[in-house]
């Protein structure tokens, strides 16, 4: 198999794992203003305090796969996206430390709530902004690092889109992990967010189709449209099921998986438009890839450790499976 293509898929896997796992995790922070009680916020924090670190590791993994597999793309992309990346990292710092300090504080607790909310929100927005800028493509060559190409109407829109998507995922996660009033509110919010996300998906799709001739060709040339038709259809189906599932006495686990399904559909749609580019119009995965010596050296590590990582991550989630309890637990 084509090694560069394998690493491209691996990168995709890492990004998908990150947005799903850290998605619900960041989403809880975004939802904070809708859950005002201290007890509720304790509860939300407790539902992820044992996994946030692992979830964020996927972001580091995505970064190093890009670094090891596609150094040319890593260097250019990161330098070009300098400011939003730095702000995202600062956001992640503020939300990350809130986990430890919030439970150990008394007077300063509201500040940690704010830190968690703002950090999560800013990080999610920046991720969406970067995503939008990547999809749109950064035009200039070497001068790109000086320009502000990442700031456009489209990228700001995708920034908000990612916030909504993460918040939706977080609602579904809360339905899975909590009981009573919190669960009901999460389901209620989730229904509104499903509607929002479906509208957003439609707008983003149309926007890229109109903006970008290559994406248009990818979708409408020959029989492509028929091949790709399941994507929008499945998305619509998932959205509809999700909307129904969150109604009344919501189903416990299914909404979360449906939301994950929506994420996967959206992500595949994204890759369909981008492939085989890492930086649209300029750098394909083959042009950016590291030499075979590097890719081959890393290969056994990935084949051995990635399944192991998935196994013990799953084990960790199973140990803490079920609803969150509101009593002191842990260290």
């Amino acid at each position: 198999m084509d090694l560069a293509l394998f690493y491209y898929l691996l990168l995709g896997f890492a990004v998908l794992m990150y947005v799903v796992l850290d998605g619900f995790d960041l989403g809880l922070g975004i939802l904070y203003p809708w859950f005002k009680g201290e007890g509720e916020r304790d509860h939300m924090m407790r539902s992820i305090s044992h996994v946030w670190d692992g979830n964020e590791t996927w972001l580091v993994f995505g970064g190093v796969v890009l670094f090891a597999g596609f150094p040319a793309a890593y260097s250019e992309l990161l330098a070009t996206m300098y400011t939003p990346l730095i702000i995202m990292l600062i956001g992640l710092i503020f939300r990350g430390v809130a986990f430890e300090y919030r439970f150990k504080s008394h007077r300063s607790k509201p500040w940690w709530d704010l830190s968690f909310f703002l950090g999560s929100t800013v990080a999610a927005f920046c991720q969406g902004l970067i995503l939008g800028a990547v999809v749109q493509g950064v035009d200039a060559g070497a001068g790109a690092t000086g320009a502000l190409d990442w700031l456009s109407a489209f990228s700001v829109f995708t920034g908000f889109a990612v916030m909504v998507a993460y918040a939706l995922l977080a609602c579904c996660y809360l339905v899975l992990k909590s009981r009573g009033a919190i669960m009901a509110r999460a389901a209620h919010l989730g229904r509104q967010l499903v509607v929002a996300i479906m509208v957003i998906l439609a707008i983003v799709s149309l926007w890229t189709l109109m903006d970008n001739a290559e994406v248009r060709a990818r979708w409408f040339d020959g029989l492509n449209f028929l091949l790709l038709l399941p994507l929008p259809l499945l998305s619509a189906l998932f959205g509809w099921l999700l909307y129904k599932d969150l109604d009344g006495k919501p189903h416990e686990t299914r909404p979360f998986w449906l939301a994950v399904g929506l994420f996967i559909m959206g992500f595949i749609g994204l890759v369909v438009g981008l492939f085989p580019y890492l930086i649209p119009h300029r750098l394909t995965l083959w042009q950016a890839s590291a030499p075979d010596s590097s890719l081959l050296f890393l290969l056994p590590g990935i084949l051995i450790f990635l399944p192991l990582i998935c196994a013990y991550t799953l084990w960790g989630y199973r140990i803490f499976a079920g609803k969150v309890e509101d009593f002191e637990e842990g260290y």
Binding site: H50, D53, A79, G96, K104, A290, I302, I319
Partner: protein, 468 residues
């Protein structure tokens, strides 16, 4: 002075990496200590060990959190601020860091949840296993990042094809000449850092007449550890210096303040004020021939000096020179404290001697400071090179507008200053709160002895009652 993006990027990287290294060097030592205590508790059932593990896991947790958030920044900074560097060296350094994530970061994160929050959900043995995995994870992480750093100091096993590095032998890349000693030196430094944090905090309790049994056990164990680790560290550091002499003679010349092209019978400078402009030292306080003896094992051995290379290939000599003395000075102090501890122990005055306890108390940050100073020697000493002899730092920074880097640097300085205050505040708060009392722990043990399914059972009853 006009703003220079390259200088700002370098300041930013130096600042963020210095801030980061504080935390891993504490957690490597603490994780190891906690694993040892938990193991001893399982073996002896002495509640003191359990108390030690349960107390230190809290400072460990907040330190670990700080390490995680400040570490993520670094994995992206190579690209954001040193884009050309990452493109040139990515094929060699990228896979090393990918291995670090695969074999260490995920491992630590995966088992940390169980270690911190799983006391009531898994059996004692499984919990101990999780603690050990986290501890081993911190070691593995050090292995890979030291390999990557050492390769930049003493590159090996590569060739340059089309202007970028490619590995020809991964064995030589990973185990490059300076890697084994640097790894040992860093791991020992981390263990010593943790050791002196534990010793210092225990001494604080003793000075304030609190939690005597707990503090005595902690202090005693830490001082035994220091008695072994500190002298071994001096030995390893000495051997490490020999590889510096061989592969990075200019760094060594800066460490020792040697100016002539070649000098025989080099004295050991205890103190001096290096003057880069006039290429000499002022106010030298020296021991004749000792540097030659240490580094060449002969009294009239020759060493290469700074003037053997043009001025633009020399590092900032005073910074390297002073940092080296801070590191060595603290190391020697640690050895003395450990020996003094041994002496007082034999006289059975270890826990009473007020002056000694105050000294140990003051030594809490000694490990952190020595580690930082050591890294300044390593990193500043290599300049102007980023990859020794091959890539100059100034040639590979990202072509960013200076204001943008100034903006991010300002953000980092503000954020990190705030975080450091918060971290110290909460550490102090945890220490003042003290260890959990043993009765509380015994109640806790009931939970520990009841693995997950029993907890589920209790929870179900609770909720059935609530619903009824």
């Amino acid at each position: 002075m006009e703003l220079d993006a390259a200088i700002l990027s370098r300041i930013q990287f130096a600042f963020t990496v210095s801030f980061h290294i504080i935390f891993p060097s504490i957690t490597i030592g603490l994780a190891t200590a906690i694993a040892i205590w938990e193991g001893l508790w399982l073996k002896t059932r002495n509640p003191l060990y359990f108390q030690l593990a349960k107390f230190w896991i809290k400072p460990f947790a907040i330190t670990f959190g700080m390490g995680v958030v400040s570490g993520i920044v670094l994995s992206y900074e190579f690209g954001t601020n040193f884009s050309k560097f990452s493109e040139l060296t990515g094929p060699v350094l990228g896979p090393l860091m990918a291995y670090e994530v695969l074999t260490a970061f995920f491992l630590e994160a995966g088992f940390l949840g169980v270690m911190l929050f799983g006391w009531q959900r898994v059996s004692e043995r499984l919990h101990f296993f999780a603690t050990c995995v986290v501890a081993v994870g911190t070691w593995i992480s050090a292995f890979w990042i030291i390999a990557a750093n050492s390769w930049m100091q003493t590159p090996a096993g590569y060739e340059i094809i089309d202007g970028r590095f490619e590995a020809t032998s991964w064995l030589e890349v990973v185990f490059n000449p300076s890697m084994p000693y640097r790894l040992m030196h860093m791991l020992l430094a981390a263990l010593l850092t943790g050791t002196f944090v534990v010793a210092g905090v225990s001494a604080w309790y003793l000075r304030n007449n609190r939690d005597q049994d707990f503090a005595k056990k902690g202090l005693s164990m830490a001082l035994w550890a220091a008695l072994i680790l500190a002298p071994v560290q001096a030995l390893v550091g000495d051997y490490h210096g020999l590889t510096v002499k061989e592969y990075q003679p200019i760094k060594l010349a800066a460490m020792e303040g040697i100016w002539p092209e070649r000098e025989a019978s080099v004295p050991l400078l205890l103190f001096a004020v290096p003057d880069m402009e006039n290429e000499t030292n002022h106010f030298e306080l020296k021991i004749p021939k000792l540097a030659s003896l240490i580094l060449t094992h002969s009294l009239d051995g020759e060493l290469q000096g700074l003037k053997s290379v043009p001025a633009d290939e020399r590092p900032n000599v005073p910074l390297v020179f002073y940092s080296f003395r801070v590191m060595v000075g603290l190391g020697v102090l640690m050895i003395w404290v450990a020996l003094l501890g041994l002496l007082l122990r034999r006289k059975e005055r270890l826990y009473e001697h007020k002056g000694f306890l105050a000294l140990v108390n003051l030594m809490i940050p000694a490990g952190v400071l020595a580690t930082l100073a050591g890294w300044y020697v390593v990193e500043v000493g290599r300049q102007p090179w980023l990859v020794q002899g091959l890539v100059r730092t100034m040639d590979v920074v990202s072509p960013l507008p200076a204001e943008r880097v100034l903006f991010s640097l300002t953000l980092f300085v503000l954020t990190y200053s705030l975080l450091l205050c918060v971290y110290l505040y909460f550490m102090a708060k945890l220490v003042r709160k003290g260890p959990p009392d043993r009765e509380h722990l015994e109640q806790h043990l009931i939970g520990v002895n009841a693995p997950g399914f029993a907890l589920e059972w209790v929870k179900d009853i609770k909720h059935q009652k609530a619903e009824a």
